[in-house]
Symmetry: C2
Subunit: 452 residues, 2 copies
Amino acid sequence: MKRRAFVKNTTLATAGFSIIPSIKLMANDDKKVKIASIGVGLRGQAHLDNLLRRNDVDVIAICDIDERMLGMATDIIRKSGKTMPQIFKGDPFAYKKLLELKNIDAVIIATPWEWHTQMIMDSLQAGIKYVGTEVVLGITLDDHWKVVHEAEKQKANVMMLENACYFRDVLAVLNMVRQNVFGEIIHLQAGYQHDLRGVKFNNGVEPYDSGVEFGEKGFSEARWRTNHSVHRNGDLYPTHGVGPVATMIDINRGNRFLSLNSFATKTRGLHEYVVKKGGENHANARVKFKLGDIVTTQLNCANGETILLQHDTNLPRPYSLGYRVQGTKGLWMQVNHSIYIEDKSTKHHEWDDEKTWLEKYDHPLWKRWHNKETDSAAGHGGIDFFVIHGFIEAIKRRVATPLDVYDAAAWSAITPLSETSIELGNETVDFPDFTSGQWMYRKNTFALTDEF
Amino acid sequence: MKRRAFVKNTTLATAGFSIIPSIKLMANDDKKVKIASIGVGLRGQAHLDNLLRRNDVDVIAICDIDERMLGMATDIIRKSGKTMPQIFKGDPFAYKKLLELKNIDAVIIATPWEWHTQMIMDSLQAGIKYVGTEVVLGITLDDHWKVVHEAEKQKANVMMLENACYFRDVLAVLNMVRQNVFGEIIHLQAGYQHDLRGVKFNNGVEPYDSGVEFGEKGFSEARWRTNHSVHRNGDLYPTHGVGPVATMIDINRGNRFLSLNSFATKTRGLHEYVVKKGGENHANARVKFKLGDIVTTQLNCANGETILLQHDTNLPRPYSLGYRVQGTKGLWMQVNHSIYIEDKSTKHHEWDDEKTWLEKYDHPLWKRWHNKETDSAAGHGGIDFFVIHGFIEAIKRRVATPLDVYDAAAWSAITPLSETSIELGNETVDFPDFTSGQWMYRKNTFALTDEF
């Protein structure tokens, strides 16, 4: 078998022609997908909630090192009326015991970023064929290569649970792109523009807007995420932005990222927040944060498009992912909720409200699955339902996940590459081809139907 | 006298402390400013119209090589009731005869881009102390250095007539920046996002949206501007975008551009326009256009800000300069007409309509000078009035122009630097310091009062 032949197979599988013969996924006498959750902090609990709502899933094990988080998770499970899963805890490597369970169909990893690669690698090496991981895939470029190589070796699926790919507006625009409404796509923009100051710092008890502690004195994300702002300067969170636009221009599936360049501003926001909320004598007022307040990244693509990404998490601002999708016939600008299509928009050179367009091109997935249940209960306005749904339905069908390890690696690798670019004085750096040339042959199969 | 000491003098002059002793500007028996206009095409006619409305100006000479444009210009002059100026015409160097006139206080140049440097140089060498030029200052980096050196040598003022610096929203935001409403400025964006296809091509008779000819068969801007899209790939028109944001962060006046990087998309828009309007057999359908449809440029500044500029002129879209001004306390986004200021905006993490803020901080210049006359009659919603007003009032006071040769050189030099960056595979290039270090000492004097 050629090194990457399985890639082709899984693509075919997704298209419905075959199943992967060599993978035994589930015991035949049980149709339910057996899931183990590594990490049941606030994000893991959101996934848990979605999993527990499904009748095609059994959560058979959970793992965490934080007793408070474990307590919250078991409360959720108790309320659901489902069987209490086996609980693994006590030390950071308790998850390795969990991976020794013989009947796991898939794991979902929702731990601090720096744990993802190791946990994915251990899961793959334990023989698990479906690994769902929270963003991002890893920290260094080497992390991303390691996971790609291990997934190939194990003939396993690694899906990064990038919920932003399932936003209703994003999927409607993907639909428009595929129906050539924008013409040939020329330029795309997106980002993660989210005032995280109240997330990066808290009082160690309440997760949001409660204080100026982080690290060991912090709770939830403040416990680990903030350290990345102390030590790293780059686009630390690129996948919400890049994921949706990558699906629109077939990245790793007929197209690829060629090169990348990042610029970073000075660093003011986090320090000023600590001083404002905690006073200039607070110990954290002496911390030197490395992350530039705004990091702006450009990418060249093989088919001639450019992508602009912005990371803006240290300053006061309304939340905005700021998508822009522009082709030879017109463009979508999310920030002003507008679309303009030549010869079709109401007035020459004037914006249409995006609403009419997005409704007209509402994606089949949303048409079929959207209801009060998925919308309000399942997190982030429904997108958490869709990303878990995509993962589980792929497992049930024994086909490739809707987003795969190459998507995960390419999207996540933007972070270390942007760090390198900034470190080298804004040098433009080459983007690795994680598919080793298969991007020329692979097909875009993301969200092609109303199934998952 | 130190090499650049006059710079300091002119700054002082603007602040009202003195006049430049060595410059004899006007005959004492005539208070009117004597202006000669080189180039009276459509843009030159707009300036002419503004000049003729003023009682403090005499237009004493005009020059053009196009008989049709000269006819339109003389019609405007006739209708104004003012004295017909001397007319220079017949060949591309007729302007040199105009420059031999002894009583010129100032020239205004509104010719194709590639003529600006030469005409400015000749004007300066003819002893004219006030030169107003349409954007841009020159084509190559060397052009910009030449003009800077000649202005220094001649102790003369070169003002680029960048009307965008006078937009009502831009000036209100400048006012907010100076009153610290946004806190310390961190990041800025702007651009020139203007569907110019109907300008770059016409039928040789009507200037806009009339055909697919350019060059010798084109009229007005299609006659010359389009050639730049055939032969050059870069941000060809940076000054409307960068000018306003440069005034907000004291570029060349306490701050400076340090480095620049540009990315360009593939080139589709102009060819598709020719085919769509003229058919695939039209001769211009065989032209290979070099300009990427969207060129996105980043700049690092000495004080740690980043600036993002976009040039987007080949695709269908609504007009947008897309300003964004972001500081430690909040930001303005022009594209959705919104402002957010921490602790002051109506709702936490939600946009305010910009309207209330812009009205509250309306700039003294607009408060004083805005009326029906300046608004409707004087071009581009009043800004053409303000840029001419600034130029003329500086001449009357014998002080430095509100924008000077260093502003003009730095803003215009973005074009050749972006071409170099793209040509070198998106390399980040150093930005020259046209002030030779004086940026550390020069003060921002732009639009400080309600005078001009």
